[in-house]
């Protein structure tokens, strides 16, 4: 029993790292994703091409590789090094911003042209149309794909162990090396609880937005 509390305590310390990566990634990847989506919808072709290429590279390579790149390349090339946590967060933010940007782009482009035109003929400005007419409809359309991505993020945070961030799975692995296997499987409980709470939260948001149909 004492061992159980001991393990739980250690794992929770690790899990706080997962939570930190999760929260900071969400906080920064959403605005960055919005900016990237604007770039990928730009009418200025060079910008659009650069942004599309960027999104392709980020989505086309493993997050694990991106973690290595952010952690090792700056120190190899410029001799500067990030601490492990900072490197992990940079990699996660860039990776998730790329995915989010595609969701935002899809959401924005799915709004019928008639909505913009109705706003225009009623004398509304471009920003009024975006904020008062389009935005809420986009939010409604992207809740489901965003909740998917965000739940994936919960689990992805454990990848940070590849650059030695002491997150929960890393902590469990330490027990394994001492011959204690069950803590490894026990970590699943924490992930399940976290994603369960998120599922409930997103369900609630979807219900909230259910008062109208698009």
């Amino acid at each position: 029993m004492e061992q159980f509390f001991n393990v739980t305590g250690e794992l929770l310390v690790g899990f706080s790292q997962n939570c930190e990566i999760f929260a900071l990634t969400l906080l920064m990847a959403i605005p960055l994703g919005l900016i990237i989506s604007m770039g990928s919808m730009s009418k200025f072709m060079p910008l659009k091409a650069v942004v599309k290429t960027f999104v392709w590279i980020i989505r086309g390579t493993p997050l694990m590789l991106q973690l290595f790149v952010v952690f090792y390349i700056p120190s190899l090339v410029w001799g500067i090094s990030f601490n492990r946590m900072t490197a992990a967060i940079i990699a996660f933010v860039i990776n998730y911003a790329a995915y989010f940007s595609e969701i935002f782009r899809g959401g924005i482009e799915s709004i019928p042209r008639g909505q913009y035109e109705a706003g225009q003929v009623l004398g509304m400005s471009k920003s009024q149309i975006f904020f008062k007419v389009v935005l809420m409809q986009v939010v409604k359309r992207i809740t489901a794909p965003m909740s998917n991505e965000i739940i994936t993020l919960v689990k992805d945070t454990s990848l940070a162990r590849v650059i030695m961030v002491p997150e929960m799975l890393k902590a469990a692995e330490r027990f394994t090396m001492q011959g204690l296997i069950w803590p490894l499987f026990y970590t699943g409980v924490f992930f399940l609880l976290f994603s369960g709470i998120l599922t409930l939260l997103f369900g609630f948001i979807e219900k909230k937005l259910d008062y109208y149909k698009i």
Binding site: E117, G123, K213
Partner: protein, 269 residues
């Protein structure tokens, strides 16, 4: 000079000339019906009047104000367009109501934004200096318009809970809320089930008796005959024939007009 003067409008998309040389005029309080087969440029003409498309050439003059002049670049700026387009209103074929807003909010949204801007810039909106007063006036006017289109009891409904005919009546009220000089309708009943067209046409008839100036693109020839003071038959980007309903519908001169009308009469109008 007429209330509305449209002079030599030309509009192409790339190499496709869609409006080849359109000129007509309309007096205040008159109703103009535009008929013609699909692809003849009717929608494009209404979109040009509402500044959703920019013609390559021509002039649009309302009440003596030149709103658009193909030779005057300053008329093409974003801010000039925003100011000038409010002389016109447009009711779309498929309504384009804002789904996330209640019926009443669909009507008040644009006027509220306009009032905010005017109070910020000039200190007043329709003589009112506070947003609170302005909001009250805007809501009262919106409620009156809902009564006018017979939908006051749907005030707090969302568009998705209304029938197509009701949605289109809300869209008409929404356009009227900005008090356009000229209200345009682009086939307002062609997205509706046949049994719902009557209620929308009746609302438009009602507007005629309250002296609104209107341009209605329609395939309802009987309705056009009853309501319009003037009919334009468009064909392939030109005005093929224009005149009173008696002239254009009952005694057309042009062969093309006759052909077009014959196709409608086949269905035993």
């Amino acid at each position: 000079m007429s209330f509305l003067q449209v002079e030599n409008i030309k509009k192409s998309f790339g190499k496709t000339e869609v409006l080849k040389n359109i000129s007509f005029s309309l007096e205040k309080g008159e109703v103009l019906a535009i008929i013609g087969s699909s692809g003849s440029g009717k929608t494009t003409l209404l979109r040009c009047l509402n500044f959703l498309e920019t013609p390559q050439e021509g002039r649009i003059i309302v009440n003596g104000n030149v709103l658009f002049d193909g030779n005057d670049e300053s008329k093409r700026s974003e801010s000039a367009i925003r100011k000038n387009r409010l002389h016109f209103g447009l009711v779309f074929q498929n309504f384009n109501l804002f789904p996330q807003y209640k019926v009443i909010e669909n009507l008040t949204l644009a006027p509220t934004l306009k009032a905010k801007e005017q109070i910020r810039k000039n200190g007043s909106y329709k003589g009112l200096s506070s947003m609170k007063q302005a909001n009250q006036l805007i809501t009262e006017e919106a409620e009156m318009l809902l009564k006018k289109v017979g939908l006051y009891e749907k005030r707090d409904f969302y568009p998705c809970n209304l029938s197509g005919g009701q949605q289109q009546r809300v869209a008409i009220a929404r356009a009227l809320a900005l008090e356009p000089d000229i209200l345009c309708f682009d086939e307002p009943t062609s997205a509706l089930d046949p049994e719902l067209t009557g209620e929308v046409l009746n609302v438009i008839r009602g507007l005629k008796s309250s002296d609104s100036t209107m341009i209605v693109v329609t395939h309802e020839i009987g309705f056009a005959h009853d309501v319009a003071d003037k009919i334009i038959f468009m064909d392939d980007g030109y005005i093929e024939e224009e005149g009173t309903p008696q002239q254009v519908i009952d005694n057309p001169n042009s062969e093309r007009t006759k052909e077009f009308l014959a196709r409608f009469n086949q269905f035993g109008d």
